[in-house]
Every structure is written in C-alpha cells, then in structure tokens.
Amino acid sequence: MTGAPPQGAAQPAGPQGPAGARPGALELRGITKRYAGVTALDAFDLTVQPGEFITFLGPSGCGKTTALNCVSGLVGLTAGEIRLDDRRIDGVPPERRGFGMVFQNYALFPHLTAWQNVAFGLEVRRVSRDDARRRTEAALALVQLEQHAQKHPGQLSGGQQQRVAIARALVVEPRLLLMDEPLSNLDTKLRGELRTEIKRLHQRLGLTTIYVTHDQAEALSLSDRLVVMRNGRVEQIGTPAEVHAAPATAFVADFMGYRNLVPVDVVGVDGDVTEVRASGLTLRGTAVGALRAGAPAVAAVRPQDIVCRREGTGALRGRVDVVEFGGDTLAADIVLDGGQRFYAVTPGPLAPGDVVALEIPPARLLVYPVESASRP
C-alpha cells in the first residue's frame, strides 16, 4: 500500500501530517450498500483526520447507521473502499479491525459482570492476566464505575450500563471509536450528563470517533465536523458552526432547527440578496444556491432569529396564537394578517391575542431553490 493521494474525497486534506504519524486517519471512498435493490448508502466519500470527532446526522432511514456498520465491518460493502492509516480494511472482518463500538441498546453481555464485560475484549485478545486487570480497572475508573464492577448489567441503571459499554469499547485501545446512537435510550437529564462525559473522554484520549445520531443538539455539541445525511446520500459536511449557520439545503435547514420553512416565489435576485413573496407578504433574504426570478423557492428562518415586538410598526403584523413557556424565553406561534404562520422565540412578555410586529433580518432568512427541498 502506498500513500497515494485521496481520490474523489469530499474533503480537502487539511492540516494532516504524513500518513501514519498519528493513527486513526480514516478514508471512505465511494462506499455503497444495496439491500435487495434498495440503496441504503450511495457513493459515500469522507476523509476523517486522526483524532477527529465526526457525527453522521440524519433522520431514521437516512443511511447513517448503515455507514457506521460498513466502517465497523458488521455490514459488507456493495462497492467502494475503506482505508485506515492508508491500509485498505474493507475486506477485514469486524473482529480483526480493532475498533471499539458502542450500541444504542448497550449490548452488554447479560451473564457477565461489569468487570467481565469490560475485560471481554482483552481476554479474547489473550492479553496477560496482570495487564488485563490493570487496564480493566483503569477503564472502569475512566467512567467512574469502580464501585459497580461486580454488578451484572441487570443491576445497573441505563446510564451506568452505557458507561460500562463505553469502557468496554475503550479498554481495547481502539484505533477508531464507533458510537451508534449511544444516548437515545436514556432520559433527557442522563443524556446531557453522558454527552458531556463523552466529550470529556474524547478531549482526554483524542480517539478518532464516529458518532451516529438523529439529535441535532447532540451532533452540534459533540462534533468537530458533522455529516448530514438523507436517503443514503450526503447533504452537507461541515463544522457545527458552518452547518448551523449556513445549511446547504432546505433539508439541512429543517434538521438544524430552521422551523419556519415557507414556500415562496422569487421576485428578484440581486447578488446574494433576494426578494421573495408568499401569501401577501414580501421578504428579503439570502440566496443559498442558484435562484431566478419567478421560480418557486423555500425560505427558512430559525425561531430565535425572528425579532418580535409588541408595539411596533412593520410590514409583518400579526396576532399571537399560542405561547409556550421556555424558561428564559417564550416561544410563540404567530399568525400574520395574510394568514402565514411564524414560530418565534422572544424574551417576552407575550400573551395569546397580542398584536405584534415581526422583523426578519435578511441575513438570517435563507432562501433555497425548491429542487433541493423536494429531491427524492
């Protein structure tokens, strides 16, 4: 295997040292998986830097778990190749890839104690007794479960079980850590705590990590870069800040919390600024993608980016329909005079029936060509 430059990779090489300098550089080239005629993953390209935390994000059925299983080796490829530290690994069975994997339902061995679960990977690798004991102890300490070592999974809470599963994956010192929706089965409070713990472990150990989730908050808070997927294809790859502030498509915008998606007609385009019209109202926004006058489009804005005033004069006048208490802020569903609804977040105070004026900064109203919203 020579250090050939990556071909067809979606990502620029970035500040990467010479190959093999630091382990954990992963490269996916056109990986494709078809099941009985259905394409679950279509020509997926990605270059992951050593130590990077990458998240595959998307709704169920978008191919994110298939992509992860292809990397783990649990699912074979229909086409494409996977390289780790410049060695081709897509023909290597999962048990010889040396990756750690954490599953949504924990997948702890129910007949073994927490200690035995963590030690499992070391035992099958025939690590010496003393070494195995030392490493198992260290891994359990890493997830703060030393005092629960002798319990069976059935005696542990969901959060503790998932921490055992994380320790079990880390103890083998994997070249790559794969996590398949590890927090999805936990309640909200535990999910937040364990999320911070995963982030801390990543900062401390610097393992190249691939994380799969359908939760955008999780993806944004954990990742160095995230890959938004849809129908087996990549919609956008970028840092959390990029994807959050500038979604590449209306689908990504929808997923990133741009809750107000309004079908509009393009009136005129002037550079980046575009004017659009919908049910009697005219808005100014920022074009994302090629727009032309007269064409249908989708305008997207996040509830937090709408400015909502009780006493105000503006083109966008409406009446508050529903108010939801959100702690420091209020969220309101507002019906404009023309009938269009907007969901806005405001410091308040606000009550149902109030007449308000809305202001949408043109920089925060993103306008997408309609093709990107309706592509199958």
């Binding site: 040396g98 599953f103 499992f120």
Partner: protein, 281 residues
C-alpha cells in the same frame, strides 16, 4: 383476589391432580411395599438382588443418556444456524417437527418396513452395490436409539430454537467488534446464554427417552440389550401378574429419573438465568 376465591379456582386442578396422579402414585407405593411374600422391601430386594433385573437399569441409562445428549448436541448447532438464516430453514423446521405428531408406535412401524430385509433402505443399498446382503438394522440397540431420537429431537430442537431466538443479535455484533471470532462468540456469549435452555432440553428429552417402551419392544432386543426398566415392570405386572413387583420397578424407575432431573436442575440453578438481552430496548 381473596384467598377463598383462589382456593375455589384451584379446586378443579387440585382434584384432577389428586385423582390422576397423587392417588395412583400412593396406591403404587402401597402396592410395592406389600409383596406376595417377604417383608415390605421384599420386591426391592428381589429386584436389586437379581442380576438380570438389575441390568435393566443400565440398559435404560445406556439408551436415555446418549439419546438426550445427542438430541441436545444436534439441536444446539441447528438452532444456531437457523438464527443466522439457514436457506430453506422453514422447510427444515417443519420436517424436523413432523415426528412430534406421530406416535412412537407409528414411527416404530414405519422403521420396521423401511429398514426391513426387503425395505427401501436395504434395496437401495443393494441396487447401489454397497452391500451384498441386507444389513441388520432392526432389533438392535441402534434402532431403538434412532427411534427415540426421532421422537425426542423435535422437542429439544423447538425448545432450543426458542432460547436461541431470544438472544439479542446486538450481543453477537458487540462480541465481534471486541475481537471475538465466530467460535469465541459462540463459546463465550451464546453458549452461556443458551445453557439454561440446554439443561431444560436435556431434562425433557431424557425423561422421554427414559420411559421408552414400544420402540424398545418392536425395534430392539427386548430380552437383551434393550430390556429397559419399563419392559421389566411390564413383564412383572402383565406376564407374571405380580402388580406389587411391577409397582416396585416402576417406582425405581421414577426415583432414578427424579435423581437425574434433580441433578440437572441443581446445575442449572448455578447458571445465569436472566434475560438474554443486552440492555433496554
């Protein structure tokens, strides 16, 4: 529910158990300790004192133990293969389960024709020039063992299939990603989780095999290697018309079965017996 209602609800079952099991059992015990001649333990002394009679214990174990072990040993890998989607698995399951619907006499009768001197088995061997003269399959220990296995295997297999399909597939995937190959995954994860099922399966097939009677008479050597306890009890009761001696032999048979089952379940209690799932969900 009030205690009174619970009592009323359990009444039919209690009555049935008393009439169909407890009374006949106690009557049998009474019969066995009131022999025609000698003291209360006369029948037992006679049975254990006679080498020919005593041999029936060994004969029964020689059939029941290998039958139960072989059934379980075949059922475990087959159930495991089914889990991983064996081609034509449903047809195979149906075929393997059919003998459940056939009585042991029916199976014995079919085997008598099939393996007989002019049956399909020997005619096929001759046609293929694999044997010069008919091979003697019938009236041997092997024929009885085969008949028992045909009857008992479906039970062992269905039971194991239930146990195996209850094991969360994520556990195998987790084991693979941790570096365990197929064999290590089987030995370290699946087998321990199947162990309670293996014990139950073994106990069930052992009891079925231990009580063998029709095939031991029809297909075996009822005067020799397949003279099992049930034949000894039958001969005492219905050939010598000594019901007392027959009851005693039947009770010996019951005690031995109970001892084996007790041992198996004592071992089973030491195994993990919780759910075979890796967590929530």
């Amino acid at each position: 529910m009030s205690g009174r209602r619970v009592l009323m609800l359990s009444l039919p079952a209690t009555l049935f158990l008393l009439a169909a099991f407890v009374y006949p059992f106690l009557y049998g015990v009474f019969l066995s300790v009131t022999p025609r001649t000698g003291g209360p333990l006369g029948n037992y002394q006679a049975f254990f004192g006679d080498e020919f009679q005593r041999a029936s214990i060994g004969n029964t174990f020689a059939l029941a133990l290998p039958a139960a072990i072989l059934c379980v040993a075949l059922a475990v890998p087959l159930a495991y293969a089914m889990r991983h989607g064996l081609r034509g698995g449903r047809v195979l399951t149906a075929l393997l389960v059919v003998p459940v619907t056939l009585g042991p006499v029916f199976i014995a009768d079919a085997m008598l024709f099939y393996f007989g001197p002019v049956g399909w088995f020997n005619r096929a061997l001759e046609a293929l020039h694999l044997a010069a003269a008919p091979i003697r399959v019938l009236h041997t220990y092997g024929a009885v063992l085969l008949a028992i296995m045909l009857t008992a295997f479906p039970f062992a297999f269905l039971l194991m299939l239930g146990y195996v399909s209850g094991i969360d597939p994520a556990l195998e995937r987790a084991a693979h990603t941790l570096g365990a190959g197929r064999w290590q995954t089987f030995r370290r994860v699946l087998l321990p989780l199947m162990a309670p099922g293996i014990a139950t399966s073994f106990a069930l097939t052992f009891v079925l095999a231990f009580g063998v009677f029709p095939s031991a008479v029809l297909l075996g050597e009822p005067g020799g290697s397949t003279r099992v306890l049930s034949i000894a009890a039958f001969q005492a009761a219905y050939e010598k018309f000594d019901f007392s001696a027959g009851s005693a032999i039947a009770l010996v048979m019951g005690a031995l079965q109970l001892a084996v089952i007790g041992l198996v379940f004592a071992l089973r209690a030491r195994l993990y017996a919780g759910p075979a799932r890796g967590g929530k969900g």
